[in-house]
Symmetry: D2
Subunit: 308 residues, 4 copies
Amino acid sequence: MAGFSTSARSSLDLSGIFPPIVTPFEENEEVSYDKLTENFSKWNDIPFRGYVVQGSNGEYAFMRAEEKIDLVRKVRELAPKDKLVLAGSGCEATRDTIEMTNRMAEGGADAALVVTPCYYKNGMTSEALEKHYTKVADSSPIPVILYSVPANTGIDLPAECIIKLSSHPNIIALKDSGGDITKIGYVIHKTTGNNFQVLAGSASFLFASYCLGAVGGVCALANVLGREVCKLHELHKHGKMEESKLLQHKLILPNTVVTKTFGVPGLKKSMEFFGLYGGPTRSPLQPLKDPQIDELREIFKLFGGYQG
Amino acid sequence: MAGFSTSARSSLDLSGIFPPIVTPFEENEEVSYDKLTENFSKWNDIPFRGYVVQGSNGEYAFMRAEEKIDLVRKVRELAPKDKLVLAGSGCEATRDTIEMTNRMAEGGADAALVVTPCYYKNGMTSEALEKHYTKVADSSPIPVILYSVPANTGIDLPAECIIKLSSHPNIIALKDSGGDITKIGYVIHKTTGNNFQVLAGSASFLFASYCLGAVGGVCALANVLGREVCKLHELHKHGKMEESKLLQHKLILPNTVVTKTFGVPGLKKSMEFFGLYGGPTRSPLQPLKDPQIDELREIFKLFGGYQG
Amino acid sequence: MAGFSTSARSSLDLSGIFPPIVTPFEENEEVSYDKLTENFSKWNDIPFRGYVVQGSNGEYAFMRAEEKIDLVRKVRELAPKDKLVLAGSGCEATRDTIEMTNRMAEGGADAALVVTPCYYKNGMTSEALEKHYTKVADSSPIPVILYSVPANTGIDLPAECIIKLSSHPNIIALKDSGGDITKIGYVIHKTTGNNFQVLAGSASFLFASYCLGAVGGVCALANVLGREVCKLHELHKHGKMEESKLLQHKLILPNTVVTKTFGVPGLKKSMEFFGLYGGPTRSPLQPLKDPQIDELREIFKLFGGYQG
Amino acid sequence: MAGFSTSARSSLDLSGIFPPIVTPFEENEEVSYDKLTENFSKWNDIPFRGYVVQGSNGEYAFMRAEEKIDLVRKVRELAPKDKLVLAGSGCEATRDTIEMTNRMAEGGADAALVVTPCYYKNGMTSEALEKHYTKVADSSPIPVILYSVPANTGIDLPAECIIKLSSHPNIIALKDSGGDITKIGYVIHKTTGNNFQVLAGSASFLFASYCLGAVGGVCALANVLGREVCKLHELHKHGKMEESKLLQHKLILPNTVVTKTFGVPGLKKSMEFFGLYGGPTRSPLQPLKDPQIDELREIFKLFGGYQG
């Protein structure tokens, strides 16, 4: 096992909101660090707990290893010291995940967000997943966060698997993007006492997750409406249940259009309504059509910041 | 349109817990009204809002038309006047659903719970479902509750469809057993002002549903642990969020085993641990095997009432 | 066990094509025996092996018990003596399936087509399905045909379950509408010697099924293009593989539109192009829209018989 | 567009069997070229049409870019000149796929097998997939073969998409591993005249695919039972339908266990029964347990070559 300790673990408090930041590209699909810097100049004013770099919304599936690591390094520079940087280091092979995790740690990541491998679906048994995460956590110098995102991977990390892994000293949290609130509640219940944290993987079920005991959220929508998502965190923290509910209600539709309905191209486009840089995605993802942009604009108009 | 009115509608307050009662059978699979009476003698001590008769857990798919109607009549007699009786009247054909709804109304049902038709899955478009429910609601003398239970039907009543139907004066509520808390929140948000009520279709996501604005629950688990489920209702009502959360945590596993894991045979068996009559299901549902019963017993032991 | 014998079994040769006949309704959704008689006056000229009455395409899910039995009786009268009548007798409850099978046998059915129960999906284990079919076959005076149609039921009768059941003396065949040619081939292989017959449940994979060893087909498309479907049977029988292939190619698209794409409303509409009575379906199935009818007409124009 | 021509296209005849070769690893998970050479010394005696390198069974998802290209180069050396080498070059990003395709062409691949991108499932519309494949084919110096493998990717390349792409001069074939024989037949029908070839992606539905017009197969099982799979090709070619059927029947179960049931670990283990090198997979795939090995051995015993 590498250099982690239980005390280090307990000190990494994930309570709060993390935007899984988009990766800005030029028209030729090359990463634009200028645009990234621009976006951070705005994001850094928002009371985020930190940033997720190279999550699904960061188009990590389209990025090469060197690009990923450079991006982590750059984000670590752009983010204030007190903000956490969580880096998506999951690969299909265990060996690649271990190497990527180590390199991202060197690049300054505070924790690694490790998505489930998914190509060999039939082979991704609970046993295979447990061994994978255990090996990665054993050799990682930074804490590991489990990441389940069945809409992309077709794999829903089983509750029992999460519960077992929660006792590993270097596995500190789950980011759950599946949104099954029963599973989220059950996992929180059964990991009580393991100092294990759960993050809602979407703004759509953020409030419900808080009610069940989640500590924060990694929410695509926070790229666009960061203040509103952070406000929901604050409202819940202060026990304002009715206001929380009403704000949650308002966030579901905008969140849905930038995730399920239009995905990353929709997320990037909506950022432009608020003066952030969205830009193109990498191919094969396609830009939105005009009627889709109109639909998106209509939905975000309600949030006042529209500058289109 | 039949004899309903908006005022009648607003007077039917569904806030609270409804067990979707099991149908007790003798060993020869005939309905046992004696056992039903026995069970009611215990259930009536619990502060339920009412009863659902002929829901999925009542094995309605195995019951003939006359049996269903007799059962509604009998339940109306056994339940105190101030308890609501919601009767499952959904059939595949619109015409059959209309007739069944009318006959159950005559039998004393306060509202009809109408499951989505599901055999011709490809044909169950939003348009088809909207027309179906509109026709049923138009000709029903009692209010209609939409019922979506994708685990059994393979059909998840679309949110937009529910929202449209919520403006029908005789459609007063949704029972959602899918458990997608995002959808539940969205539906509640978009039906605000329509005097439309949402019931959680399972104890597993009851607390989350309350937080999002649901008024009550139809929970299989309430057949067994009625007091505990009612207590969760009360705790939330009085703003005790932390206690609600902890009680919800405890209820997920027992609820899961009597629904997803073991279904109606598990539900009936667990009732026997608490002095209620469970008895056999109709075939082709199979009784639990001994190791499954042991697993079930272990889980319910925590709730003290075990008498096995 | 009722009065069946192995010798009776071996004498029921299912080789050939069976249209799963649509149930003709008047505009008020009542069964029209006049229209049924009209259709039979045309169907009886086609070299079908027999008819399936009250299959999925017969809208059996919308029919009441008495209607189903009357229809079987009527079809038995309308069909020539040498044509087999296979009657869909499957219900959710084992007891109802047994009674319906017996009553359809009295009504003149030569064999019972028993669809998998499907409402309690989690409970439909291999064990439950085997017991269900065994009980039904044990008490049926006529041979039983297993019927798997996952697109409607969400249940794919497992291959191992079919193989076990194939040794029951009163279970003579499988109608497989799932279309997994690997499963079809495997079942045929493992039931060799059990005198067990397999029928393709759709014209889309009829030729492939013949190549693997199926003896015939129950094909929705045979309601409309009966001669063409029978011709495919003949071509294969006489070893004309190239011609079989080309005819099969031509039949896929028309078959797809009257099943997957437009379902029973499409099937009924296309019958009208060829001088047969289609008429309305029962609600909640919806009639086709004009552009859909145009699409359908275009596809069937190739088959010359168009009279629209 | 790069240097391809229609005439070049027509000259690449894919008729025959291709094993999608496994990648041999040492115990430390490093590629073993010695073991690869050993395996080729046996495979080269079998009348394969060629080899697929870096398909799903080659664990391409676990391989780094340089490893993939080296492997293509090595396989080109090990395979006789008259055997085709088809190389799996699909990546998530279009730009990566283009580069990989070009590098594999330089390495000696005769054609590129391009799997559907799949991580951003919601974004993989027909339009996105068509643009992806068109860009890749436009810039590829070697012909492109579409590759649809929904069991791994969750994406079933739509028939209409394949049909459109079939008219691209540099897209010459489809490898379909979904096994929907209706889709296979329809695609063959609608691409007639486009000089477009279809390869069955599995030995389980190879014979049915031939009957519908496929020209060959890429079959995991050919790693183990290469002669038998080639024999099925020959039998069909010479019109021996009955013998083809019986051989196909025999191959379904062994094929199923080395694909669906046990996947690549099962495939590699079964190779060892026949004197080939299987060895470990990369992690997180797990080795078979003893009872699984026994089951596998039992099934392959029938094929006589067992040396365990």
